[in-house]
Symmetry: C2
Subunit: 250 residues, 2 copies
């Protein structure tokens, strides 16, 4: 367990356009800002940057809303085209009440609007979640490791709401080079008692930690977390999605 | 938004006993370790330390399990006395399946076993959540501010599971001296578009960040987060509990 963790905001990242490589945009900004990168660093990248670079952006003028999307949008003062994109991105609607749509995406994430988002994107457009966030994380890691010549991990992260608690927190959608879950089962506590059911979602805690320097309006879509090297290893973000048959809240 | 966040583990905190003041235990360890404390620091303290100091510990030999607790414990290989304490701590059972009890506490928290926990406590005992986590945070803050002569915030935190995602993450139960939610609604994004529904649970993200240096087995029940001064202010942890009538997953 590290004694100290440091989290550096990566400022000056260029606005991403379709065809950009997110890892290269982040690496360029890290170099320009002369930020250190070292073995064991975890680099957290905002989903929004990745989605734009991967072209996961939809022009609303190209969308023809269904009758259901029009009805919902009309009832709750929402945009019919955005609602239609949400329906298309949803593998399953989990809740749909009072103007709020909670949906399961094709990845298995359960989140508001199936991850469709109109903030920090050009007017008339929305972003979708990356098709394969683990692949996005892996490609960014390849670029960052080559550029800086050291072993790092990457997390592609987005802010999700939670049942029962107010506010959103950043969570890990895609992971590369990191054990996303730290399974303490079998370890002993301070009283020599075996810990039973403690699996800590390290990747989500790292994403949340990074968000504190990234923010929503600050235009800082990446951060470097130093001091988390003990979790460097193999793993993917899909391991954080609870299998449906194990979930009591679907 | 800070450019850098630093998180320091507070090592060497004495094992808490009933009657101890959590703030004093943490302050003593900070002084002994010669850690810096500065205006705007956020000090995260593990619930377990607070519960022990406040005497929120139950000796299982004093518990007479109900028939229902015995039946559940027998079916799933659980401890009948622990199950009985869970029932007593629960204001409402939210889910009770396959040996797992998700319950709402009297505070309104929804978590496994109503917060009753047998890890890192003497054999034959369990800890309960603090009666008033915001009060616990406030008392600890008073002590820390007096000792170090600066304005700090405190968070009393525990690891909770979440629906839909694997693993636990640290969240804020009690808060003092901090705005736990950062309401970005009304602010503009980079495209001059107003952000709609983005309220970030800063206190939970701070708790998760701190957990990365605290851990479950490491015996580090506190951490100092530096660089979060912008959220210093007035607020309490109860603001993080979503009111029942606003929650779609009860």
């Amino acid at each position: 367990m590290a004694t100290e963790l440091r989290i550096f905001a990566v400022r000056g990242i260029a606005e991403a356009a379709a065809g950009d490589r997110p890892g290269a945009l982040v690496a360029d900004a890290i170099e320009a800002a002369q930020l250190p990168v070292a073995d064991g660093d975890v680099i957290v990248i905002a989903q929004k940057l990745v989605s734009k670079a991967e072209g996961a952006v939809v022009a609303l003028r190209d969308i023809s809303p269904s009758a259901e999307a029009r009805a919902w949008a009309g009832t709750y003062g929402r945009d019919a085209e955005v609602t239609e994109v949400v329906f298309q991105e949803a593998r399953r609607i989990v809740r749909m009440e009072r103007g709020v749509i909670i949906a399961e995406t094709r990845h298995g994430f359960i989140c508001a609007n199936a991850g469709v988002d109109s903030s920090n994107v050009a007017p008339g457009h929305v972003t979708l979640l990356p098709r394969d966030p683990d692949g996005s994380a892996r490609r960014a890691r390849d670029i960052l490791e080559t550029r800086f010549g050291c072993r790092v991990a990457t997390i592609v992260a987005d802010t999700f709401g939670r049942p029962w608690r107010e506010g959103v927190v950043n969570v890990a959608l895609g992971v590369s080079g990191l054990r996303p879950l730290d399974d303490l089962r079998g370890r002993m506590d301070r009283h020599g008692r075996r810990l039973h059911s403690t699996v800590v979602a390290i990747a989500d805690e790292l994403a949340s930690a990074a968000e504190l320097v990234m923010g929503k309006t600050a235009g800082v879509p990446a951060a470097i977390v130093r001091g988390a090297g003990e979790w460097i290893g193999d793993g993917v973000g899909t391991a954080l999605v609870r299998p449906a048959e194990m979930d009591m809240f679907r």
